[in-house]
Symmetry: C2
Subunit: 102 residues, 2 copies
């Protein structure tokens, strides 16, 4: 059977979501806004890599970065509308994992 | 807000799906069994990497490899039940990509 040509939108979507750690970061943010250190503590990921991922997710319009001018300065990350629209994907991954992963 | 501890099953599920090219390979196989060369032609991926991915997906019980003793020998890959159960995830990624990717 021949494959239909892959839609470039789907290819790009999969590339974004498949970026290492991205789905786990989004999954954490589904619970609400988080500070950098909270995500860093929740995932086995270095601060440098987490910072890169957040930059990419901001550039993609998936994550919002908000700076609160307190002392010390507080920075919170949250999902944009585009980011929250990823929730059904995450819920399906959750279901599949609970059913099929030992 | 604190993050709830991440479920290890969900973490493992996300790791499998997030492996580079894996979701695109599974997406192609949703259309039915394919030969190695068909997937290789459909994706911008080297034969070496595709071969690695297929081995991992076989080990995870997501893909079946069937050898037909023809001349030349024919090898076809298809999704197992565990692999086909990934379809709702792929469909949600498809929907999200069509809505949110320019």
């Amino acid at each position: 059977m021949n494959s239909p040509a892959l839609c470039t939108k789907v290819e790009k979507g999969m590339k974004i979501i498949s970026q290492r750690w991205t789905s786990l970061i989004i999954y954490q943010l589904l619970n609400g806004p988080h500070r950098f250190c909270e995500i860093e503590a929740a995932l086995p990921i270095s601060g440098r890599v987490l910072s890169e991922r957040f930059k990419e997710l901001e550039q993609e319009g998936i994550v919002n970065r908000e700076v609160f001018p307190e002392t010390p300065v507080r920075i919170a990350y949250s999902l944009t509308e585009k980011g929250r629209a990823l929730e059904p994907i995450m819920r399906e991954i959750e279901k599949w994992s609970h059913t099929w992963i030992d």
